[in-house]
Amino acid sequence: MSRFFSLTRLFALLRKEVIQLRRDRITFAMMLGVPLMQLLLFGFAINSDPKQLPAALVAPVQDRFSRAIVTALELTDYYRFTSPGVSAAEAERLLARGAVSFVVTLPSDFGRRVLRGDHPVMLIEADATDPAVASGAVSTLGTVAAEALQRELGTEAQAGAARDTQLQVLVHRRYNPEGITAYNIVPGLLGVILQLTMVMMTAMALTREIERGTMENLLSMPATPLEIMLGKMLPYLGVSAVQVLVVLVAARALFHVPFVGSLGLASGRHPDLRDGASGPGLSHFDRGADADAGDAADLLLFPALHHAVGLHVPLSRHARLGAGLGRDLSAHAFPALHPGGHAEGRGLRGRGAAPRRACTLRDHADAGRAAEVPADAGLSEGRCIAPVGNRAGSLRAFSPLCRHHG
């Protein structure tokens, strides 16, 4: 037996430690529960090639070509047209709210141009908040749509020479045009961090009370179990608020995740921020993204990733199986990141947003649809704002994008 190191002593220590480990429920939870939960979560729930993404269709004129395209897109399994035939304004709202991941726009003269072989153009706006959502769905798009049109024309022409439809597909990656993953992942991790630390800290706080024997005393005084639980949990809301702040500051400083509004102001007071960390026992009941539209005024802060991001992984990326669990951990745990009411022009200010320019009433007229403009639409300002395509020339084709044309 050495004076400095003895195996006997070490074994005595090890044995004691093992016995304690065996009897400690928290260790058990960490040993079995945490890895299993994480495995299930990351294994089943996360999907980097999400399918069946909700999409909206903006097609003022519904004809067989639009139907062909919708069918073809749905057959790719990437798109699920949850809102077919909505107005452009409505589609914009859906996209902003995160209700749809794509808006497919077929201009009113689409069919005519297809028939004439006159450079038909369609627009796909993808919510690129999560770059993965956009990539898979968008990559196959061009060929699929073109083939669909060709088939449609082919049957029409009865084996006549298949004309090249010359379909041009414009893709707008909204909100995160550069496809920066960090914009999505970093705020998402916030949810994970809060989940893990909050659950553990609160659980530990409770066990400590029992281990130190103070629980008996506590229970012998007129404190109810509910009060004791709340008393344990609420302080950790404050702790989680600090964590949120740390993560947000780090997100800004290290990953340059863009923010709109004042970080300092928002972190302290937005109720939804604190909601995100409600600790164990209170599951995050689905607050519904819609509710947030109402607090638009309250939203001083929302990372430009806007949308359903919220969390480590956006909702759409959870497979069905994980949806319940995923929801809990993701978008709805952190509704503050939902943009709420961002009208066009708000939100991505400056940060690589789709180019915009003012479109004037003349544009509306050019588009040949002036008659449809509501009498008061945009007239007070004499203009309305609409994003335009990457090419100036395509403006006309996209007049439906101007919300006053919807």
Binding site: G213, T214, E216, S220, P222, A223
Partner: protein, 308 residues
């Protein structure tokens, strides 16, 4: 209602696993009385106290504490009772004052600040109000615990071995405090292993193996045991002790310094045996008063016999 006793429970039973840890205990404590609760380790004292203050639900039996039903009115009981746990159970990382403020908050005492200050003053804790409870010595911890459980002016105190590990002076002060409060009408149930403390109680209740086997005033309990005690004194008590063992009538032999206490139920046989041994070993024998401890040893041995 003023006539109702502070504690009146009957037939309390608590079963842990398949052991009847408390087995049909009935207790009665009058208002303003200091009742001792005695019994060997593991006899079920703490468990009984927990049932009476609403922390544990009895598996059988019922009763009233301060007029409240122990099964259904646990909340009311907690409000009116001060329970001092056997193990120190205040927050070691809080100061004395913070601990008391916390307790004042739980009981909703107002004005909390003044009540805490008065309590600190009362129990001589003012000087240490800012000391962390964890760094207090045993005696001070006990005083803090007492302060915390009388601060809300309970009508009944349940103290579970409040003086374990406390020095004689502190114990004396503690009991003076208890007697002063009792004179003001406070009822106290106190468990202890110290005989001198048992003798300070108005009445004692002795429990062994979960059963109440003796209850009453100290003198009555001693008398009720029907024991006779003689003392042998002299230079050769060790030899006398050895010879006494197994003699007729001798049930307990205990050395106290140079004296030997010999106890037994059969007075005549005991005296005869003791006289014989005294003669053989050259010690002197004289009769003595039976002490409470002798009674307890007797009761303990008897309850162990009944187990076999």
């Amino acid at each position: 209602m003023t006539e109702e006793p502070a504690i009146a429970v009957t037939g309390l039973v608590k079963i842990f696993g398949n052991r009847r840890v408390v087995d049909g205990v009935s207790l009665r404590v009058e208002r303003g009385e200091i009742a001792g609760f005695l019994g060997p380790n593991g006899s079920g004292k703490t468990t009984t106290i927990r049932m009476m203050c609403g922390l544990l639900t009895p598996d059988a039996g019922e009763g009233r504490v301060l007029g409240f039903d122990i099964r259904r009115q646990g909340r009311r009981i907690k409000r009116e009772v001060g329970y001092m746990t056997q193990r120190f159970s205040f927050y070691e990382d809080l100061t004395i004052e913070e601990n008391l403020s916390f307790v004042a908050g739980l009981y909703g005492l107002t004005p909390a600040r003044r009540i805490v200050r008065d309590t600190l003053e009362d129990l001589g804790l003012s000087g240490r109000r800012h000391q962390l409870a964890g760094s207090l010595s045993g005696g001070w911890k006990q005083r803090l615990a007492l302060a915390a459980c009388i601060m809300h002016r309970p009508r009944l105190l349940m103290l579970d071995e409040p003086t374990a590990g406390v020095d004689p002076l502190a114990r004396r002060m503690f009991w003076d405090e208890i007697h002063a409060r009792s004179a003001e009408g406070l009822t106290v149930l106190v468990s202890t292993h110290y005989m001198d403390e048992a003798e300070r109680c108005h009445r004692i209740n002795y429990i062994a193996n979960g059963r109440l086997i003796a209850a009453g005033r100290v003198a009555d309990v001693v008398a009720g045991a029907g024991l006779t005690t003689v003392v042998l004194e002299g230079p050769n008590t060790a030899e006398a002790a050895r010879r006494l063992k197994g003699r007729p009538g001798v049930e307990q032999v205990a050395s106290f310094g140079t004296t030997l206490h010999v106890v037994g139920r059969d007075a005549a046989a005991l005296r005869q045996s003791a006289e014989a041994v005294a003669r053989e070993t050259g010690t002197t024998m004289h009769p003595a008063e039976t002490m409470l401890e002798d009674v307890f040893i007797q009761l303990m041995a008897a309850s162990e016999d009944s187990l076999r």
